[in-house]
């Protein structure tokens, strides 16, 4: 049973999600219960996976018992276990929020939600590039439907852009896969990592083209600078629980970059070593600058949070560009923090908008809030953490990233990252003071936050404090994860057997330099 645990984060939501799609006539309460129970189970499975991965060995699950490199494998290491736990936690709380009523504004919310989680978990676990494409498609098609869920003009328009862009992205993904398969003759990431070390130099150019094309695709998912235009509109238009779940979608892009580039284009890859890292560094810094301007120009709380997501994407991409163990470790810490906190902020903004009548989420003078103290407090914690102020989790994440920069990198990174924090702070305090304090005389009205929504919102935003309290163990974990990533040899050994790991690595690197 225990060895089948790896496949459960994919199979469980698939079965329950498909069942929920079939049984549309059942009562909402039953559907909510089934969905929440399934997601609580997924969190439990994810915790078990994290415990399993904690011993540092790399386990794989060969689907249909077709052994690698020929069959499709799911691989469990520290990174994938962490990401699965993160997505399951975020999914559970976002879904809990949706049970307060948003799930009934359209049909099939829970089924789609579970299928999207299946796609996300699959993307985190798979060890096969084409399978990664398939899981991307699964999570995308579920996200198209979820983005449109409930329906409105803004949603249709943003969904149209989102769908067309992502279809283009899928086309590029396939072209990249075709090139990589044509050059290496395999789609298994581990096998490709071995083959790339002994690649005929004449074909390195093709491999480079394929690898960089893949970077474009992942960059589109992660909202890297020239490819981010879909993000603010889509996130601002989506319903709150969907936007909260989307907070991890950009991180799927970041994860894919981290996985593919730290496994395949390593120091052993000769001329292809560290492919694309420069691009990531500069694109990350540029994303940070644009996100800064976006945060300052936001006239709506939802857009503001969407740009806060972009600030985090810019920060993560720059950290990816640094490509050291310390930077990867800091990046993972920041990734966990930013996913949970921005997810919580999307939920909070929805509650706030529900108590402000016509003004909604727009940053204008309006009636006072019903629960101004509670919501204002949560907003303060959430935005201060997102802006990177101590004593909240964002500060630790940012400090780790700042500390891991080399002196040449510091010249660029320090001013930009700190300025981004300042801009977020200015924008959030302006927004917060006009929403919570600059109120008219009207009677407060609207919907109270309630238990389910309170637990979901509070739970996600409390990550800002919990991640500080448990910063020590968590930082140790992310450091161990980054170390595991930096040394792909055990990964290759466990999948392909002892003789597969490239022992020719040092001489090859010597030849090139």
């Amino acid at each position: 049973m225990l060895q089948h645990l790896i496949v459960l984060p994919i199979v469980l939501p698939l079965l329950v999600g498909a069942g929920l799609l079939l049984s549309r006539a059942t009562s909402p309460t039953l559907r909510r219960t089934v969905s929440l129970v399934a997601q609580a189970l997924m969190v439990a499975i994810a915790i078990a996976l994290v415990v399993q991965a904690g011993d540092g060995t790399i386990r794989y699950y060969a689907l249909g018992d077709w052994q690698p490199p020929f069959g499709i494998v799911l691989v469990l290491d520290r990174l994938s276990a962490t990401m699965v736990l993160l997505s399951s936690l975020l999914g559970l709380l976002a879904c809990l929020y949706a049970t307060a009523g948003i799930d009934e504004t359209g049909s099939n919310f829970h089924g789609l939600f579970l299928l999207q989680l299946m796609g996300i978990n699959g993307a985190f676990l798979t060890g096969d590039l084409f399978n990664l494409f398939v899981f991307f498609e699964v999570l995308l098609i579920a996200s198209y439907a979820l983005l449109l869920h409930g329906g409105s003009k803004a949603r249709t328009l943003s969904a149209l852009h989102y769908v067309v862009l992502n279809l283009m992205g899928s086309a590029f993904f396939l072209i990249a896969l075709g090139i990589l398969y044509g050059v290496t003759g395999t789609l298994n990431m581990a096998d490709m990592a071995v083959i790339v070390t002994t690649l005929d130099p004449g074909r390195a150019g093709l491999m480079e083209a394929g690898g960089l094309l893949l970077l474009v695709v992942f960059g589109l998912k992660a909202a890297m600078l020239p490819l981010y235009f879909w993000l603010p509109r889509a996130y601002a238009a989506a319903s709150a629980p969907v936007a909260a779940l989307f907070a991890i979608m950009t991180k799927v892009g970041i994860y894919s970059i981290l996985r593919v580039y730290s496994l395949i284009f390593t120091d052993n890859a000769g001329a292809l070593a560290d492919l694309g890292r420069d691009w990531l560094w500069w694109a990350g810094l540029a994303t940070l600058v644009v996100a800064m301007l976006g945060v300052l120009s936001a006239r709506d709380l939802r857009t503001l949070v969407a740009y806060l997501v972009m600030v985090s994407v810019g920060t993560l991409l720059t950290a990816l560009g640094m490509n050291t163990i310390e930077a990867d470790s800091a990046l993972l810490f920041y990734l966990i923090h930013s996913t949970l906190v921005t997810g919580g902020l999307f939920l909070l903004v929805d509650v706030v908008a529900g108590q402000r009548g016509k003004a909604g989420a727009r940053i204008v003078r309006s009636r006072p809030l019903l629960q101004a103290g509670l919501l204002g407090g949560l907003f303060l914690i959430g935005t201060a953490a997102a802006a990177g102020l101590p004593p909240f989790s964002g500060a630790i994440g940012k400090a780790l990233i700042l500390a891991s920069a080399t002196p040449e990198q510091q010249i660029w990174l320090w001013p930009l990252l700190l300025l981004a924090g300042l801009c977020s702070l200015v924008a959030c305090s302006r927004a917060g003071s006009s929403v919570f304090w600059r109120t008219s005389k009207a009677e407060p009205s609207g919907e109270r936050i309630g238990v389910a929504r309170g637990i979901a919102t509070g739970g996600l935003i409390s990550a800002a404090l919990m991640l500080v309290i448990f910063a020590g163990p968590l930082a140790n974990w992310t450091k161990a994860t980054a170390e595991q990533l930096s040394n792909p040899a055990p990964y290759l050994e466990s999948l392909l057997g002892k003789d597969a790991a490239p022992e020719t690595a040092p001489p090859l690197k010597g030849d090139v330099s």
Binding site: I141, T156, L160, V164, A171, L174
Partner: protein
């Protein structure tokens, strides 16, 4: 054979990209379809173009075309088909919701319309 194949793929991709960049939803959808044809052809050729080969049978021992790209193309076609159906419905819904078939939801006024058709 190779030249013809490459030209066809390239032409399809070029037309697909051009149409996808148009302002109205219908050409965009057609462009995406053409692009997915080009991608499928490209993917298909990745195992190398082999003419007059035998079916790939385990143990047959005779030269055969690489079967994996064929399986990949099959998956890509199925996914592409579903996506095309979805984007067509979405485009129709956008036409209904936004009252315009422009990708930005803008209504083009008449003078602009005439310029476009010129």
């Amino acid at each position: 054979m190779e030249a013809l194949y490459a030209t066809t793929t390239g032409l399809l991709a070029a037309c697909g990209v051009y149409l996808t960049l148009r302002g109205r939803t219908f050409p965009v959808v057609v462009g995406l379809t053409l692009l997915s044809y080009a991608v499928n052809l490209f993917l298909f050729s990745m195992g190398g173009l082999a003419m007059h080969g035998n079916p790939a049978v385990v143990g047959a021992g005779s030269p055969a075309a690489d079967p994996l790209p064929q399986a990949l193309v099959l998956t890509a076609i199925v996914i592409g088909f579903a996506m095309t159906a979805f984007v067509v419905i979405l485009a129709m819904r956008a036409r209904g919701d936004l009252g315009s078939d422009h990708v930005n939801g803008n209504r083009l006024d008449d003078s602009k319309e005439k310029e476009d058709t010129k």
